[in-house]
């Protein structure tokens, strides 16, 4: 999967959780929970969606690595099928 495809999945799922926030103007290096004003339930739904759509099971211990959009892209890229 390409970086663009992964970004598109992240964009879709965050739009579902926080429809009023403009993804393109969001800071990709700030924590998603703050940037998109989402709580732990929303964040778990985000992780669940990544698992369902990309097949990547992010363990809780790695939540800090996917806490930002940039971090999530870097983390997910090598773990998705080509």
């Amino acid at each position: 999967m390409t970086t663009e495809q992964i970004l598109s999945v992240i964009r879709d799922e965050l739009a579902r959780l926080a429809p009023e926030i403009d993804f393109d103007s969001a800071d990709r290096n700030r924590p998603i929970q703050q940037e998109f004003d989402i709580d732990s339930m929303d964040f778990l739904n985000f992780i669940t969606a990544l698992h369902a759509r990309l097949g990547v099971n992010v363990p809780e211990a790695d939540y800090t690595k996917v806490a930002t959009i940039a971090g999530a892209q870097t983390y997910l890229l090598p773990r998705t099928p080509n």
Partner: protein
């Protein structure tokens, strides 16, 4: 029209989901109404047959108004033209009675053509609304211009399942204003070491795929529910100058809604749910509340409320009791603090729990024991 909370006076029927002649079971969703809290699914209170719709979608109905004629299982199919069986306002006992100031049920429009003001007739013609589809709110059930306007708005598809934030703000203002006027709150706080619960959660979630993971919120709600079973004076309703404890424990969960406002619908029989089931219910409830759709029994009958603002980064939250409930338990964020364990200062994850309770019903001494018990339950998460 059942009472869906102390602050509710009326609601608009959006759609019928059961037709005349349908057999329905207790808990089936038969209609959707729009209230200040958003769209709510109305559940039927007993098994039976829906005989007839009395009002049509678009009707604005006060609490207590007859919506449909219903025949309970075992009742004869006798024609009952005027006297519809009164629907119970809530499904479980003991139940909060409808507010004493509730307006009396209004009569449905007479069969021989609805009564309507001239202005109402003109507007109905202009916007193409059938007067027969409207339950009038004027004197003697007459249809007013406002009734027609309300119906027209609904017909025009004015986002029936969304939120009206102005109305929600008013609903919160009414309930919280009443709480602060009528309920003599007392407040307690208790900070506990939450490390055992965090460790237990991390171990449990390590084995689970994301869809089955648990959140601290589930442990918290379960602990409060179990403690409430041992301290019944925090679980129930204060109505008509007396406290009516509730046998059932339905913990209301305060859920923030994007854009403003909140709702605190119940998770039924919380103390009896396994953590995994409780978590599933929470996920489902949060999703539905944020989509603006929940069920009548969820909104009407929480027996105690939990509010957790930990995710928002504050150390403690001092709740305002949702009348006619008598207690609200608050949880702040998890903070690593210097903590003394076995005579040594060490860094531990801690959480500040608070209790706001109704002093007409309980005293600080019992409140302290209740809060302490909740903390003990969280210290032994394997037994939750």
């Amino acid at each position: 029209m059942p009472s869906l909370g102390a602050d509710m006076e009326a609601a608009t029927l959006i759609e019928w989901l059961a037709k005349p002649g349908d057999k329905v079971k207790r808990g089936d969703v038969i209609a959707v109404v729009e209230t200040q809290k958003g769209a709510i699914e109305i559940e039927v209170f007993e098994d039976g047959v829906l005989e007839a719709h009395v009002v049509a979608p678009g009707a604005v109905l006060p609490v207590g108004a007859v919506m449909a004629r219903f025949r309970g299982a075992g009742e004869a199919a006798a024609a009952m033209p005027a006297a519809a069986p009164p629907p119970a306002p809530t499904p479980t006992a003991p139940k909060p009675p409808p507010p004493t100031e509730a307006p009396p049920p209004r009569r449905a429009p007479p069969a021989a053509g609805p009564r309507a003001s001239p202005a109402a007739r003109r507007l109905a013609e202009e916007v193409g609304v059938d007067l027969a589809s409207i339950a009038g709110s004027g004197p003697g059930g007459a249809i007013t211009r406002e009734d027609v306007a309300a119906r027209a708005q609904v017909s025009a598809g004015k986002k029936p399942a969304g939120f009206d934030f102005t109305a929600m703000r008013r609903a919160i203002a009414a309930a919280m204003g009443r709480s602060k006027r009528e309920i003599p709150h007392y407040y307690l706080s208790h900070t506990i070491d939450i490390g055992a619960a965090q460790d237990w959660l991390a171990a449990a979630n390590a084995q689970r795929p994301p869809a089955e993971r648990l959140l601290m919120g589930a442990l918290i709600i379960k602990a409060v529910a179990k403690a409430a079973r041992e301290f019944p004076e925090f679980n129930g309703f204060h109505v008509e100058d007396e406290f009516r404890p509730s046998e059932a424990i339905h913990v209301g969960v305060a859920i923030a809604i994007r854009g403003g406002g909140l709702a605190a619908p119940a998770i039924h029989d919380t103390a009896d749910l396994a953590l995994a089931d409780l978590m599933t219910r929470m996920r489902d409830l949060v999703a539905r509340v944020r989509a603006g759709r929940f069920r009548s029994s969820e909104i009407a009958d929480p027996t105690i409320t939990v509010t957790s603002l930990g995710d928002r980064g504050v150390d403690a939250v001092w709740g305002v009791i949702y009348p006619p409930q008598v207690a609200i338990v608050g949880f702040g964020r998890i903070v690593v603090r210097p903590w003394v364990v076995d005579g040594q200062v060490t860094a531990r994850p801690t959480v500040c729990m608070t209790l706001a309770a109704d002093h007409r019903v309980s005293d600080g001494h019992r409140g302290a024991l209740f809060l302490e018990r909740t903390g003990q339950l969280l210290a032994n998460p394997g037994e939750l």
